[in-house]
Amino acid sequence: MELSEYVLELKGITKIFPGVKALDHVSFQLKPGEIHALMGENGAGKSTFIKVITGVHKAEEGEMYLDGQKVDFKGPKDAQKAGIAAIYQHVTAYPHLSVTENIFMGHEIKKRGIIQWKEMNDLADSYLQELNADFKSTAEMGALSVAQQQMVEIAKAISMKARIIIMDEPTAALTKNESEQLYKITEKLRDDGASIIFISHRFEDMYRLATRVTVFRDSQYIGSYDVNGITNADLIKAMVGREISDMYPKPEVKIGEEVFRVEKLTRMGYFKDVSFNVRKGEILGLTGLVGAGRTETVQTIYGVEHYDSGKMYLNGQEITVKNPSDALRQGIGLLPEDRQHQGLILDWGIGRNITLTEIASLGKNGMTDEKSERAKAKELAERVDTKAVTIFDKASSLSGGNQQKIVVAKILASDLKVIILDEPTKGVDVGAKAEIYEIMGELAKQGYAIIMISSEMPEILGMSDRIVVMCEGKVTGELKRGEAAQEEILKFAMARSPKAAKN
């Protein structure tokens, strides 16, 4: 038998879920010892593809070869035995168990049925040392940061002697320094002989690590390219299927009078003396590093959390907000950061999700009115251009970007004056991103006052009329559109106090 050029090869993989073709004759080739980037919009089929490789899903059609040998995985165990390990974006660990237990879960070292703790701990420590980790094998998993937990997952892959390691958006929740460390670890794994599939939305990840990149779009294989000699524009075109000429379609809107203002809003331990205002038709960008207290601030404004002192004014009148119901009634809406847990009921149809906050105003005398609910849901789902067939499609069946559009539609159902968007494009693919920006621009035109939290610098610079920067629970700076540059914002975002930044 001839030796294959590829360590892993998939041909014509088709996977069908009820009603959807999640993968449509997809091919993929992984060379030994390479880092191969896999890119595509959310819903392009990357996750399903990974699950086929790791034996979680069984493909209806197609073949898979390991070192040129045809394989047929019956389940995840078979894939593990063959040396395939996956590290998922949301770490699937046991938070209450120790690092050692997490690493060896399912393949503990046993002698006559008794677990050898000492041996396992020592081995785990040696892996961690190899990865330059700054924690011990006896640490509790839940007490570690996301980056550290990922390291544990990588150690687990090493402990299973994985030859093919799949990383699913590992940098999504990491800071720049943590990402850099992950790059180094990934390169070390490759140098030790592993072949790596690296999934990411970030172009910089790909340029930094990968030698080749494969693009999926709409459940189909689009192509594989050498990273040397490909441009962002080429890639976006391959991923989206069209050119996005203007990513940030910020319309010129005449900004009116002040709609909403917070004064010296304080929640002990989270943020202190936060003051800012937002005007009619204005998009106010609220930025800062992760942990700066931005999300906590808007959650307090929306009434999910309480505040200790400070005042809020709506159209010049002081208001109090004790819970989200108060906020909505007075015209303040929030698109929460975590759409799957806070924004949507995944098990419900998109129609019911959209009208949930407004069932009372759509019905009367305490009774729901299905007919006007459906009409409203249809109108709003179409207004945000959702890719769905009926309003009864389950929210869980949509891609990340379309789910986010449903949450936007849900906010539009209410009669609001202030719309707060917390990381509106987090985990949303390029195409849907552009659509969400367009909707934001339209909302500003219609006279809503918009507060947008974002960690993405281009988004903040591209969409905001004014930018408020927070650091460690305090507002450290405010910049106008045009005068704001990335360096300026970063200086404020890392300033310990407002004074330091001004000097």
């Binding site: 949930l356 009774m367 729901t368």
Partner: protein
Amino acid sequence: MATKSGRTIIADQPFSWKTFFLKWEWLLVILFLGINVMNASLSEYYLSGAGLFNATNSFLEKAFVALPMAYILVLGDIDISVGSTACLSAVMLAYFYNLGVPMGLCIIICLLTGTICGAINGLILTKFTELAPMIVTLGTQILYRGIAEAMLGDEARGGLSSVKWFSNLYWGKIGIVPIMLICFIVCAVIFGFVLHKTFFGRRLYAIGANKLAAEYAGIKVQKIRMIVFTLTGTFAAVTAIFLAARMGSTRADIATGYELEAIAMAVLGGFSTDGGKGKFPGLILAIFIVGMLRYGLGLVNMASQFMLVVIGALLIITVMLPNIKSMFKVKKKA
């Protein structure tokens, strides 16, 4: 209106015969008919109007507490203190009656007792939201039963049947229709209507399906939980009233196991303990399935201990059926 990209989204519920016939309720209908055929073959009087009504009277007092229990399950909560609450409420009723308090007032005391018991559950669970309802209501289950035992010890408080109108609540009939059945139908219709046709009902489902998203959608989650737990206590007291009317006396060991029977009825009816699921017609069918089965087994003089074996087995097999079905589906594909 269509979307910008020219797509229209359908707003009419697609109808398919397949989903219509795959509804859980059909299984319950078949079970219900089967049990009635069995009963009819055991007793020639069963299918006469009076016979059927007598049959319903043998179990319906418990069914009152199954109504709010369905709400509790929709919320994703559980309440295993209702048996003790019913007992304590009945004990209070008889206790005060024997002190010479008029029966009308005793009934109010009984309802208040149940309501307070439910409110205590609700208060603890909504003020300390991280506590598990199973544990809290296990605690109050023991507590409420303990109070009842402290009040009566081994004794019984009786003489309730000397108040004719009171015992008629259970034994009385309008024509051939028992008063209790009429009360139950009225309550069931109201509970079903509220669950399926009002904001309140929709919010219950939202909380059960995703508590956090419900809160972000402006639903006052803890307030609603408080209302439902309190309501459950009140209906445990309603059960207590009919039970006291039936027996004419109370002891500290009555209504034992009612919580489990109420939960069993709700689960059989399609209400999942995970929350957010279940429809009222299923619950009503399940109540009558369990009740009529018990009655039928009584007709053949089956010992009550063995009856539990049959009912338990029925519950397990029925809730397993959908899983068995999907198991076969997977096998076929592989």
